[in-house]
Amino acid sequence: MAGAVLVQDQAAPGTGQKRRSVLRVLGSGLRELWGDKAGFFGLLIVAMFVFVALFAPMLTPHNPSAQVLADRLTPPVWEHGGSMSHILGTDQLGRDILSRVIYGSRLSLLVGVSVVVIAGAVGTTVGLVSGYFGGRVDGLIMRVVDTQGAFPGLLLALLILAAVGPSVRTVILVLCLDGWLMYARVARGTVLSLRQTAYVEAAEIIGCRPRRVMFRHVAPNLTSPVLTVAVLEFARIILAEAVLSFLGLGVQPPQMSWGLEIAEGQDFVYSAWWLVTFPGIAIAVTVLGVNMFASWLRVAADPQEREKRFAASAGTFGGGI
């Protein structure tokens, strides 16, 4: 991914000043990221996850739904009785685990991206409006946010899923219902401090309408705090989807999800450990990658934290994440 962006940077010289400066920022960001190996490694994992999910049909050695009962519960290749054709072994119906894990990534990506986009857009807009207008609107919105924040979120999600009936769409909806609060809080907090800046005041004085001030002058400054929240939320949502599917309230078979794979393999923990182990590793590694990238981004996107980091690397005390 790093290479792709850099090549693009060189290959597109005449495409306009704005685009070039965006690429330059991306390039310097990547250079900085390279300095933090954990963050870079995290981004690499995320890139691999997205790649695997997008190109799943080309990467799988077998049809993930094909059942070969004669081959069922084949252990991974390095165990006694394993075979090269099923590197990570097969499940109780003789389906290839590697192929199923690869396909499972699609659902995590779909749910993760949908929820982050929908909840992020709604939450950020609400926070922006709330922080910008202040007063009674703000009081009301924040009361709603605080009240909902004190709800037992996952239990309510279970109740809704049980009542409405589980499906991918309901899972996305339920996770959005729970997910917008964080963005609203962060966006509002940032807007409140931006409202005090001279350029927002200037924009108001020359007569910009509220909508123009909000979206043209205030909103762009929300990018880095909201982006940081979005990356962290992405990790949380992958975990939440896995929990819901594991409990049988998320994705339903024959669709494939890592959480569902673990639920189905649960009956075989005594005899066939690989059924639950590999989908779990897939979740853990993906979430770990997102978290490592997020912990770099959190520092990189916050000027105060950046200062601390550079002071640290200058020798006061060592780096760390």
Binding site: A38, A150, L159, V269, I283
Partner: protein, 307 residues
């Protein structure tokens, strides 16, 4: 102070009102108990009789009023499956959950503070890097999967702990670890980072200059200040554990607490039971949230209650 307590309790009541309303809307409007409880072959007359028996043929706002009236009288309806008061059933399962959450979270808190402080003492060194790395791992592992791994390793292969159920004192060890893992990770990272900030402040140097020993300096002066942000986060995690995340842990370990009961109620489509659980948990969460505000105040006197 008195006014603040009053306002805080008022906010808590609003939360409970909200939860009860959402529960009502979800179970009455979205879900159809007759469809769930009666066999597919039931006639329309049977469905009507069933609705009448549960009061589901009344207008919605009357049902809503009845719903509240029941709650005020401690009547959360009758569990379809167990044919008992849903509140009573929930309360009999509650102690097991409180036990698990208490043990798991106490373990998480102690471990997180210990490793967080140790990491902060010498930032950038091996121990610090290890703590940071394992904290990230802890909060990235799905709890139910960690639970299964613990069962495979310590229950099945080594046979040190029971794999399921609540028999004997050692049964709580594995579920408590699975429940604690993400909290350990999150809290340790916050303790570490606020401890580093705090150790770099002038007063620590003053304390050192006047000859205060390291134990007192770190254990009493710095730690107390550094703990404030961690306590907030830790409190959220306790709430999070109660408000749903112990469901998976209880299911994996066959721990018969309220989370397991919720899961069984979902499988059995026992909505009355489920709504009793959700409302009961909401009340507990509100109480914990209020209690936390005051603990926060005790730890960090700079926080103005009511501000």
């Amino acid at each position: 102070m008195g006014r603040y307590i009053f306002r805080r309790i008022g906010q808590g009541l609003i939360v409970i009102f909200g939860v009860v309303s959402v529960v009502f809307v979800v179970t009455r409007i979205v879900g159809d108990p007759a469809k769930v409880m009666l066999p597919l072959t039931a006639t329309d007359a049977q469905r009507a009789a069933f609705d009448h028996q549960l009061g589901l043929d009344k207008p919605l706002f009357v049902q809503y009023g009845d719903f509240w009236n029941g709650i005020f009288h401690g009547n959360f309806g009758e569990s379809y499956v167990r044919k008992q008061s849903a509140l009573h059933v929930a309360l009999t399962y509650l102690p097991a959950t409180l036990e698990l959450v208490f043990v798991g979270m106490a373990f998480a808190g102690l471990l997180a503070v210990t490793i967080g402080v140790l990491a902060a003492l010498r930032p950038g060194r091996l121990l610090d890097r290890a703590v940071t790395f394992f904290s990230l791992i802890g909060l990235s592992l799905p709890q139910f999967w960690l639970g299964l791994l613990l069962i495979i390793l310590f229950g099945v292969k080594l046979g040190w702990f029971p794999v399921s159920g609540r028999q004997g004192a050692s049964a709580i060890v594995l579920p408590a670890i699975a429940l604690a893992a993400p909290t350990v990770g999150r809290t340790a990272m916050v303790v570490r980072s606020s401890m580093i900030d705090e150790l770099n402040k002038q007063y620590v140097l003053t304390a050192e200059a006047k000859g205060l020993g390291a134990w007192r300096r770190i254990g009493v002066h710095t730690l107390r200040n550094a703990l404030a942000p961690a306590v907030t986060l830790f409190g959220w995690d306790v709430v999070r554990a109660l408000a749903g995340f112990d469901v998976v842990v209880e299911v994996v370990f066959g721990w018969t607490g309220i989370g397991h009961l919720a899961y069984d109620s979902i499988l059995g489509q026992d909505f009355t039971q489920l709504q009793a659980i959700v409302i009961l948990v909401a009340i507990i969460v509100v109480v914990i949230n209020i209690a936390m505000d005051f603990i926060y105040k005790l730890i960090d006197p700079r926080v103005k209650v009511g501000a």
